[in-house]
């Protein structure tokens, strides 16, 4: 509980997705819908007397407009700042007193609020969640304090982290029109100029039962959960939601390159290609092939980037690849690497390009593909060990418009991918004209020596 993820999932989350991000638990969940449009998904898991509730709003940073970037996330923070009947901070106190843990997160596509409790306390979480869906106070005083917290969060996670800046600049350069170009936490100047009215407006537009999905995983009776949902959420009227504009990105007309100068020791290179996201779990083939492509490159320590760039050629200290294919907007394929001390950003970039070229020319081996599939199969089981992970998986699928019921189908489709399909998607999407690349150009630290002082010997007083 020392780390507070009442915040965003940024770069790391994206990059961590190398192994089958949507290969989920067995799809034995129950689904229902209230008259006001609230969807309810219940997935029984009786391994412990616990229930995890996750309320998903299908609204994220992608729904923000110019000048108020970051408001989706700021509103997420404000959701803990009180309603007409539950004063600021009381939400967390009530959940804590019930032995529960709560938090929330904002992504490009969605905002999620969750609480994990012993199963007998589930109703408390539902009652509080329903209350703040309809009755949030959004007081100017609380806003004035919380916006400062969010700016601290931006300093901590982005401004003082060169690689986060690289990712931020990479996406801002890769996209021209689509709002995925903006950071989830928002640009600092937008945060500085944000008013409580901005959060209020966002709340009024998007926090409605017909824009939400209640997900419960745990030792519960689905019918009872649906009844409880009706009791607490049933009275909240549905709302006509604003029209969502597609804001499609125009075709990229050539490679783009960005340099980020920031205090650091080692350079860092990050590349992104636009790629399709999963839309139709049954008919699509490319997203599955892209997932296998990512796994062949970086699904394990045995995968190509580690084996070649890190262990054999020793050009890179670290090399990563990942495909993010569960999204309301475009999907993306990422590659990144840190050069070994003494090697340059250009060398490591060339190394990544060589690995891509090898697959384009020669494809992947059957052995590699089988290995990637074995990992997807195992991951499918391992993910069921955490109830929260299961709930979050359902949330990210549903927010992207993919039914949680397709998780087994998705695993099946992954296992059907052929080596030719992997080579084909590499050929199609690893195109230089579709590439954006950002490089960290390390700068010496201003005003201090590069090495911190030895113990107790030197300090400024």
């Amino acid at each position: 509980m020392r780390s507070f993820r009442r915040g965003l999932q940024l770069l790391c989350a994206l990059l961590a997705l190398s192994a089958a991000p949507w290969a989920a638990a067995a799809s034995d969940a129950v689904e229902d819908k209230l008259a006001n449009g609230l969807r309810v998904i219940v997935k029984p898991d009786r391994r412990a007397p616990v229930a995890v509730m996750l309320l998903l709003y299908k609204v994220g940073s992608v729904d923000e407009v110019t000048g108020v970037t970051g408001v989706a996330h700021v509103l997420e923070h404000m959701m803990f700042k009180g309603t007409a009947s539950v004063p600021a901070g009381e939400y967390s106190r009530l959940i804590a007193a019930a032995g529960g843990r709560d938090n929330a997160f904002t992504s490009n596509d969605l905002t999620g609020y969750f609480a994990a409790l012993q199963k007998s306390e589930l109703e408390l979480a539902l009652r509080l969640e329903a209350d703040r869906m309809a009755n949030l106070t959004l007081s100017p005083e609380e806003f004035a304090k919380e916006i400062k917290v969010v700016m601290e969060e931006r300093r901590l996670r982005t401004d003082d982290r060169p690689r986060s800046l690289v990712y931020e600049q990479l996406m801002a350069a890769a996209l021209t029109a689509h709002p995925y170009r903006n950071p989830i936490i928002g640009w600092m100047n937008d945060l500085e100029n944000m008013r409580v009215e901005d959060a209020r407006e966002f709340y009024r537009h998007w926090y409605a039962p017909d824009n939400a999905t209640l997900i419960v995983v745990g030792d519960v009776d689905p019918a009872q959960v649906v009844a409880l949902a009706g009791k607490h959420f049933g009275g909240i009227p549905s709302r006509s939601l604003p029209v969502r504009k597609p804001q499609e990105e125009p075709p990229q007309l050539g490679a783009k390159r960005v340099t980020v100068k920031a205090p650091a020791e080692l350079p860092y290179v990050m590349m992104v290609f636009r790629a399709p996201a999963l839309r139709d779990a049954e008919r699509d083939t490319e997203p599955y092939a892209l997932e296998m492509l990512a796994a062949v490159l970086d699904g394990s320590q045995a995968a190509r980037l580690n084996r070649t760039l890190v262990r054999k050629e020793r050009i890179a200290s670290a090399a990563d690849a990942g495909y993010d294919g569960i999204a309301r907007g475009s999907g993306f394929f990422y590659l990144s690497a840190t050069p070994t001390p003494g090697k340059s950003a250009a060398e490591v970039e060339a190394g990544l390009r060589r690995e891509m070229a090898k697959i384009i020319e020669h494809g992947v081996t059957q052995e590699e593909l089988e290995r990637a599939k074995a990992q997807a199969v195992a991951q499918h089981v391992y993910e069921r060990d955490s109830m929260l992970a299961q709930a979050r998986q359902i949330a990210s699928l549903e927010a992207a418009g993919i039914s949680h019921r397709t998780v087994d189908l998705q695993l099946r489709k992954l296992r059907e991918v052929t080596a030719e399909q992997v080579r084909d998607v590499a050929r199609k999407y690893f195109r230089d004209d579709a590439l954006t690349i950002a490089t960290l150009d390390p700068q010496p630290l201003a005003g201090v020596k590069r090495k911190p002082p030895p113990p107790g010997l030197k300090h400024v007083q």
Binding site: A48, A96, L266, R371, S386, V448, P452, P455
Partner: protein, 447 residues
Amino acid sequence: MFNRLIALALPAMLAVAASPASAILPIQHWQTANGARVYFVENHGLPMLDLSVDFPAGAGYDRPAKAGAASMTQRLLRAGADKMSEDDVEQRIADVGAQLGGRFDNDRAGLSLRTLSSARERQQALDVFARVLRAPAFPRAVLEREKVRLIGSLKEADIKPDTIVARTFYRLAYGDHPYALRDTGEVETVQTLAREDLVQFHRRHYVARYAVVAIIGDVTRAEAEAIAEQVTRGLPKGGAEEPVLPPVKGLAAGTARTIPHHAAQAHIIIGAPGISRTDPDYIALFVGNFVLGGGGFVSRIMEEVRSKRGLAYSAGSYFYPLQREGPFVISMQTRRDQATQALEVAQATLAEFVKTGPTEEELAAAKRNIVNGFPLRIDSNRKIHEYLALIGFYRLPLTYLDDFVKNVERVTTADIRDAFQRRIRPDRMVTVVVGGEPAKAADAGAR
């Protein structure tokens, strides 16, 4: 990577579970033929298996001149063993979808494995695991490569305020105790590491009779017994004397350091050596700390620093109990020109808490959270596995979780106040501020 404060906060939290009845967590315990201690929970809920083998081989067993030997030993276990090359190891593990990981902290080091429980997958993964643990090759070429990688990441970390604040704190709080050593070693010491250092460290510390085997998952008792034998057979026999850690000296006086840094945020730590894993004050201090800064959004530090004043995104405190006295730490980050204010708020909050302790209401709320939240602490194989490894390594009673909840329920506000007053001296804290507005922060550091 030296991310001690973040990485170490987690086990500190995990260590506090409580259990209404051991029937909920029926731990089976025995010893292998060569003396390794085994802790097993049979659980057929999912077709998978978690296994770990840990040794007293953490960074605390490093010598200053060779700091990093412990970490490098653990890191290179998987770099080839028993006629398998490094690539062989990685491919065999990956081919069956298994995950080979490990633990490395101040006290403990070892390997862990997650695998499907089906026969082919399990057998292949266990075979690699056992061979890697028993007969690591420590290839010279891989060692040289890993030294270069590590030194690069140490240099990268060395310019970051979170690293600087943690390193400085540990040095000032622990002096010449090995807990002061950076767990991965320093650039200068890593450079000196040779294959022979790792071979010796492995021989001395990865010893069968010190091993703690923790197993949970979809296997029977008989299978677990066979697995425990398989993964400990042939481990080094070790010397006559078990490695021990020296005692930690308490701080005679407070120390303050302010180190300039360009970062947008100042990083702040206030702390001191705290408690050992078997400390009699552990429960009182743990429950008290929940109120002070361990309880997240319902804690005083979070309330004062974040909720009331908007000074930080993350602010809190924790005890990290170890074999010897692990640290008590308050930490936060704030915009550089607010460092003085944030530090003063945290210091005042600590002083007030030590003086008067928690209120009855605060204690009742803390107990409700800890006791009612018990099921959450053992709701996955991964969490239970952590407890098995912890109970085993620190030789805690098998009823540890059951006892814990009873002791939490019993603790009083007077117990907590008393324990804090004896153990936490606000005037003897190590205070480190990295960054911030120089003149003001320097003043504050001396307070």
